[in-house]
Symmetry: C2
Subunit: 210 residues, 2 copies
């Protein structure tokens, strides 16, 4: 029974998943230092020793969790090309980012906590693959502007604008809930917020929705 494809998940796979999910919950809320293995073990309903048996150390668990998040985000983002329609691309960008905020808020908060700490474990990622990703998109945005297909808006700050506005609904959910007075954010809220963001940002870039 070593094969997960034929006989369900291995004991290791099942427990690692429980631990990862529990760790994401605790790290997202309390940050790296504020989280304790004891709390993670309690959330995973496993003894502390068992957690350490699988993950080795707190640091390794945290780094592995960050890597899982970054790869998950990478695969969720589609590539674009200069020939695409600007409005379509930017709207899809906003909506897919907002969907991530709704489906994976803990990942977003984990990342936010890491950045708040000064990104000690993500320095190379930021200056490496993330910078490349931003610059490749920015180059296309710039060409669109040169061709008069959209307003000349600094593309890097536009990307930051979209990132921040969409992540806000994951990272600052407690604030949104407290101010709007709702019990929690539902599908309708995310849909309406997405519509509002698309409306303002597309028009702000001189684009009309498809």
């Amino acid at each position: 029974m070593n094969d997960s494809s034929a006989a369900g998940p291995t004991v290791r796979e099942r427990n690692e998943r429980r631990i990862f999910d529990a760790a994401e919950l605790v790290f997202a809320r309390h940050g790296y230092r504020g989280a304790s293995i004891q709390a993670i073990a309690a959330a995973a309903e496993l003894p502390k020793s068992n957690v350490l048996y699988y993950v080795g150390s707190k640091r390794r668990l945290y780094v592995a969790l960050l890597e899982r998040t970054m790869t998950r985000w990478n695969t969720a983002l589609s590539d674009i090309s200069e020939e695409d329609d600007p409005a379509t691309v930017i709207e899809a960008f906003i909506r897919s980012k907002m969907a991530l905020s709704q489906t994976h808020p803990l990942s977003s908060r984990l990342f936010a906590n890491e950045i708040l700490q000064g990104a000690p474990f993500l320095q190379e990622t930021l200056a490496g693959s993330m910078r490349e990703w931003v610059e490749s998109r920015a180059a296309i945005f710039r060409r669109w502007a040169e061709q008069g297909r959209m307003d000349p808006v600094d593309p890097v700050w536009l990307i930051f604008l979209i990132w921040s506005a969409t992540q806000h609904y994951a990272d600052f959910e407690a604030q949104v809930i407290g101010i709007t007075g709702q019990a929690q954010l539902g599908d309708a809220d995310f849909a309406a917020a997405s519509d509002c963001l698309c409306q303002v940002i597309l028009k702000g870039c001189g684009l009309t929705q498809a």
Copy 2:
């Protein structure tokens, strides 16, 4: 020499200020649980016992720090009225919020950390004075839209958009720096980002800059 007005700050005033500033630094980076009094004392260059002598407990220090931040923000925000010009008001709102991100990034990160934890100490503030503040502004925005003075944009989400986009440059400074490759954000960066935000958001709301 008990009077601060005539003979400079009291010993108490001076030390409390050192402690508050040090605590803001540590809490903003590591959150409530992740921060330690030892680390705060080291940053304040005081013995741990001396810190506790002044502030009583970690919890009290944290709450007092949050309160200092909230009142500081409240005083920095100007009131608006229905008769004001929408474009002028929203542009001033964006620029003053961005200025706060530049001058008080630690306060912004402290607040962000509190929200990420689920706002355990700011629940009443969110559902109380902050909600009132948002709704009073939202009411004016709505009337502007009814009068055709701006596009019908959901005002609450517009406020969230402005908050998130401006706070981003304080809370996620490490990400902005890592991706842009700069050593740090300077006046020119904040000015350019503010211009970009005003350009996109004002146009996105159907407004033209004054």
